[in-house]
């Protein structure tokens, strides 16, 4: 089905329930995007206060996950949804898990940014982290946009950008390893920077998951663990 008509049930109440769930997911997506942005800013600009705030705000993301999960369970119990409605609920349950994990990764960025405030002698990493961070932020934003618009093309193209993220991450890893060898006294800070880079790379992976769920929701096809060549030939 290309057109999901999510708001056109005979039952107005059911429309409202699905709309409420959808709005909460978009809200959760927005919160998580902001957390990632703030976490990155804190890291790159050495803003410990912002970093602490990000770390302390993660509970709000978690609370929203629990709330949406409960609402989805109620819909399953009371409405026995089928076809696109069923796929929407299944998708939402999966998407919020990935959003919550992204929130956790953002929390790490916030937390480590506090420790790395004094890492003034490691400026080159900020440039590489900034680039990786931008790639990941834009992927996450586009994945959430694809979900909001139920846009399969956008979802697939966004998912493909994970290759760029992975390449960038690997480059950064090699760079960090080189510096660890050159200056072992920085081991603690270098590890934290590595973990930040890893957190960003994981956000990219979670964004790919969200894109895959969009395809499942719209097309009814589970493309997880499928090669991009196969996906391209079928959908693009």
């Amino acid at each position: 089905m290309d057109k999901l008509h999510l708001d056109q049930h005979i039952s107005h109440q059911f429309n409202l329930e699905l709309e409420e769930i959808r709005n909460k997911v978009l809200k959760m997506g927005g919160m998580v995007e902001q957390q990632v942005a703030n976490g990155l800013t804190a890291l790159l600009e050495g803003d410990g206060d912002l970093g602490s705030q990000v770390a302390q705000s993660d509970f709000e993301v978690n609370a929203l996950e629990v709330e949406i999960d409960e609402e989805c369970t109620q819909v399953l119990a009371r409405r026995q949804p089928a076809a696109s409605d069923l796929r929407l609920i299944v998708t939402v349950i999966k998407v919020i898990t990935d959003l919550e994990r992204i929130g956790d990764e953002a929390e790490k960025l916030g937390r480590f940014s506090v420790d790395l405030v004094s890492a003034e002698d490691l400026p080159s990493y900020r440039k590489d982290l900034r680039h990786l961070g931008e790639l990941v932020r834009s992927m996450l934003g586009d994945a959430l946009d694809a979900f909001a618009r139920l846009d399969v093309d956008a979802a697939i193209r966004t998912a493909q950008r994970d290759d760029d993220v992975n390449r960038e991450y690997e480059t950064l890893e090699r760079l960090l390893a080189t510096h660890l060898v050159e200056d072992p006294r920085q081991v603690s800070k270098l590890f934290k920077i590595t973990w930040c880079a890893r957190a960003l790379e994981r956000i990219g992976d979670h964004s790919v998951n969200i894109c895959e769920y969009v395809v499942y929701l719209v097309k009814g096809k589970d493309i997880r663990h499928t090669s991009f060549d196969q996906i391209r030939s079928e959908f693009l």
Partner: protein, 291 residues
């Protein structure tokens, strides 16, 4: 800087919902059934069936196979023709004077309207269970024995007893009535009466069992027992069930056929129809977007 959820919401994503489709347009554009109507080695085959009540056409060019040992569910809104189509399969429509059926229908390759095929025997081979349980005003025993007696299926009383007991067991009713086979069939509960009707169909060794909303008059527990019975029976018979309950269709059938205003819109694997139907009319119906 404090970030609140309200801050996030002041920059909402632009959400474009799809343009509403006109269901009537979709229906008028439908020229052939979506999905595969045929099966390999079918028990029954119908091709290009039209049904008329007087001048009014009720079924439009429906082709559908019923497979061996499968349960096929027929769903659709009221008045869509699913019961009319079901009644074609054992020529029950012959009993309606204004009804005219055209097209080709066969059981094991034999034309249902062929000269060689006796409609009375057909209705033994293709049995029917109705929405409202309709036991005869006879004893439980005689309800089940009636068909075999009429068709001369038992040489003596002992054989008849065997048929009755066997049928009641297959219908999952024997244990509850074995001590009162002489009691009137009408003294049973609704669910038991329906199982009695199923036993009555089974007693004449059918090959296909047609069920027209068999559970709609029953409570949930009786319904669950009938559904369990359908699952067991399908090992030996082909079953076509018309139902208003989509959840029931999803539970009991392997294939599902969706009818709309006399046309067969879509037929497919039940799992696929209920998770990702192909035609938008099917999608609209099973998600409750229109009745």
């Amino acid at each position: 800087m404090s970030v609140t959820a309200d801050d996030i919401l002041t920059q909402p994503r632009h959400v474009e919902l799809p343009v509403k489709d006109d269901a009537r347009d979709a229906f008028e554009r439908l020229t052939e059934t979506v999905g595969t109507v045929t099966v390999a080695d079918p028990k029954m085959r119908t091709e290009h069936v039209d049904v008329f009540y007087g001048e009014k056409q009720a079924i439009f060019d429906v082709s559908l196979d019923i497979g061996n040992n499968e349960v096929i569910a027929m769903i659709g809104p009221s008045g869509c023709g699913k019961s009319t189509f079901l009644r074609c399969l054992n020529r029950m429509n012959d009993t309606i004077p204004t009804c005219r059926v055209t097209g080709s229908m066969s059981l094991d390759g034999e034309d249902l309207y062929g000269a060689e095929l006796d409609p009375v025997l057909l209705r033994a081979r293709v049995g029917m269970v109705f929405q409202k349980p309709n036991p005869f005003a006879k004893s439980i025993y005689d309800n089940v024995a009636y068909g075999p007696r009429i068709h001369g299926l038992a040489a003596n009383r002992a054989e008849l007893d065997d048929i009755v007991v066997d049928s009641l067991k297959k219908a999952g009713l024997y244990d509850e009535v074995k001590d009162r086979l002489d009691a009137p069939g009408t003294s049973l509960s609704g669910g038991q009466q329906q199982r009695l009707c199923i036993a009555r169909s089974i007693a004449v060794s059918p090959e296909v069992i047609l069920m027209d909303e068999p559970c709609s008059a029953l409570d949930p527990i009786a319904t669950a027992r009938i559904e369990e019975l359908i699952s067991e029976l399908s090992q030996n018979y082909a079953i076509a069930i018309v139902t208003h309950s989509m959840q029931q269709a999803a539970r009991v059938s392997q294939r599902t056929a969706y009818f709309h205003l006399g046309k067969l819109v879509e037929v497919g694997d039940t799992k696929q129809v209920f998770t990702n139907p192909t035609h938008e009319l099917t999608e609209n119906y099973i998600t409750g977007r229109f009745g």
